[in-house]
Symmetry: C2
Subunit: 430 residues, 2 copies
């Protein structure tokens, strides 16, 4: 018998494509340095988590054996009909219309383990290796890992203060069409509200323009837009902008992804997608292979939260808490960074992040002197901006930081920003 | 602008490979025919779902704001450390040793959305298209879909009353090695206890033999065994058999998959895997891409259930209830089928299924006269046996049925079996 214990496990190409993701590294950083002040983690505000509300909702569910049993039994692969019905009403309220005017059925709504699973399922059913997705530069780094994991090519498109520059997108697709690669173009990924990491909202004009570009280039096959609206309900100032999905009257081009993770509780891990009718079956097929349904109990709980108004009262409370935290971070940025030459930051109207640019000569990478100094000497943590770009690391912008105001309380946000400014000053002009 | 609304969505190869799964069809049958008596669904007994227990556990969690917030916050990708620690103790009890004697760390335990997600993640990180997995004939049909979804080749190995015939497996691997395909062989899938669908336990001798075969053929690369022990804790008679995982002292070859779905609640959707140390990272990487963690709240709840003894008391209750149901089904089989020539069935010591073979001239397929008659005229539903085999449908055994005693109460099990016997008799001798 051979010595099998020294024998390697032969892993798949797909594992290799998707390995070494930044999110795991970030989570480890948090675990290894429990005393660090983190502006890095994408966790939500713990103080506003709905502990009492969930306790009451579960008590209500479990006080009725019939309802309790139904909630604790298997659900279906696409998810609880009761929650999907409640979500149609909720979506209609967000869209400013009646559920009927949405023009979709509950079958076009798929419940997932966080909206991340919807993003992942979509990539699975859409991409063969080498197929193309367009992403903003910068964009949500976890999605870059998901694209890599299915072997997709992520092509970055420049962003400005109105979000992705759609004229650039149009030109890039034209270039690909010219090169005979239009059949490879499958998806445009847009975080429409308070983009992670930049905090920018895609303007209403750009939203319509993006849809028009997707429609225009859907010649032999449909080009889809994935509208990641994870932060949609976390607006603290300014007026809501209609969703890209809302502009797509035919409901043919846009997948709308939303979640309860940011607005209610990430520990329940319930996200959802609204998808074109002919995509619902393929996504459910794939989900059938992967887990044949997310936790039914949690879906049932959220259905009750929506139906009873508990959810809406809670979101209002969450918004108030985050407004204070955002303002604390922006005030601290003014206080500690405004006199550092070459430092700029975005003032977001919502979401969880402030995107800060340092002078280009100060890299923020995991292996940079700044990162090391910040996380050790100053005990403050951020997400390096280069993670939010695609392509070879040496070619990416390396002087930016994503600063989250989600986790810390306002006083500690001030302290963390103060420490970070101290760390940054050490490298200014060097 | 082209008329994009008539434009097809270009789906991936992987979607195509994994589409049209039997489980979705079965779920639809249940939904479309709410009045049917189902011996088909793999749902668990609703009467024994832990409604009061879950109500109390959540009340305990939410009575402490600190604990409640922790449970409602994001967890980590591999899952709650608290539940993983509790599971080490639980596993040790099942294995008849101390947690230290298990010889593993909590890092080798991965928490998933049901054990199905563990099976799926393993397939993702292991298989390139064309790689080989061995499965018993018959085997768990959902896993056949998962293998198909990653483009794996599922090679069936004959089963007898002791489970998969390992001598046949050894010969098949030898044949593949001869043909230069040993590098394609990656996995042996074994449902060790009360196999779904056959109800058979793999004998202790075969378990050791399977491990020896995996070790023997692990020449250039390791061949893994996936031990699906979903029904392990649902034994109603006979003595427990040591797990394959337990025989693998080096913890190199066996992935042990277990779940709370059958023993506690499928609506919580918590499963887990115990994996070789060098597979934990790759699986977590992949899970990071797919959902970066299953519901933390549910994991926390189950940690408390294990720590408090609630879980163990509940499993004992579940076993008592299923013992009555199994006995009801076996008694009904005797009562209604014993005088039908050529009908045979397995007497399982646990699990949820009785596997019944009809005379070979009576097909049980979805499109068979028997299935149609049973589901319409007699209003009784079963799982056709051909779903549990791989390969071209016309070459598969077509005269078997998986009968679940999980859903119906004992009186209705008797009624359903009576109706099924009436349906079968209609086709005997035709």
């Amino acid at each position: 018998m051979s010595d099998s214990s020294s024998c390697p496990i032969p892993l798949s190409d797909r594992w290799r494509w998707g390995s070494r993701q930044a999110i795991s590294f970030l989570m480890e950083q948090g675990v290894d340095n429990p005393d660090i002040l983190t502006l890095g983690a994408g966790l939500v505000d713990s103080e506003t988590l709905p502990v009492e509300e969930v306790g009451q909702l579960v008590a209500d569910i479990c006080s009725d054996p019939v309802e309790g049993r139904a909630a604790l039994q298997y659900g279906s692969t696409p998810g609880s009909p009761r929650l999907r019905a409640a979500l149609l009403k909720h979506l209609a309220a967000l869209e400013g219309c009646t559920p009927e005017e949405l023009g979709i059925s509950a079958n076009q709504m798929l419940l997932t383990t966080g909206s991340q699973q919807l993003l992942s399922l979509l990539c699975e059913v859409l991409f063969n290796p080498g197929d193309i997705a367009f992403v903003a530069a910068p964009t949500y780094f976890v999605f870059l890992g998901t694209l890599a994991g299915v072997g997709a090519r992520a092509i970055p498109i420049r962003s400005d203060e109105h979000g992705m520059v759609i004229d650039d997108l149009d030109r890039e697709i034209a270039r690909l069409a010219e090169a005979g690669e239009l059949h490879r173009v499958k998806l445009i990924y847009l975080v429409s509200d308070f983009e992670n990491p930049s905090g920018i909202c895609l303007s209403a004009e750009r939203r319509q323009q993006a849809l028009a570009v997707a429609q225009k280039w859907s010649r032999q096959q449909r080009i889809l837009i994935l509208e990641d609206a994870a932060y949609r309900e976390l607006r603290y100032s300014g007026e809501p902008i209609p969703s890209i999905w809302g502009f797509d009257r035919d409901r043919q081009h846009v997948i709308l992804a939303q979640t309860f993770s940011k607005s209610f509780s990430p520990g329940l891990r319930v996200g959802y997608g609204v998808v074109p009718a002919d995509l619902a079956g393929p996504l459910a097929d794939r989900k059938g292979n992967e887990d044949f349904g997310s936790a039914h109990f949690n879906q049932h709980l959220l259905a009750r939260a929506l139906e009873s108004g508990v959810y809406h009262r809670h979101v209002a409370r969450v918004r108030r808490a985050y407004t204070i935290k955002r303002d604390a971070m922006l005030a601290a940025a003014d206080r500690y960074f405004s006199d550092i030459p070459g430092v700029e930051w975005v003032h977001p109207d919502g979401g969880l992040y402030v995107w800060m640019s340092l002078p280009t000569e100060i890299p923020t990478n995991f292996d940079s002197p700044l990162f090391k100094h910040a996380t050790t000497a100053e005990q403050v943590m951020y997400v390096p901006g280069y993670l939010c770009y695609t392509g070879p690391i040496e070619e990416r912008p390396r002087h930016q930081m994503r600063l989250s105001f989600g986790v810390l309380e306002p006083g500690l946000i001030d302290e963390a920003m103060k420490r970070l400014a101290i760390a940054v000053r050490k490298f200014v002009g060097t």
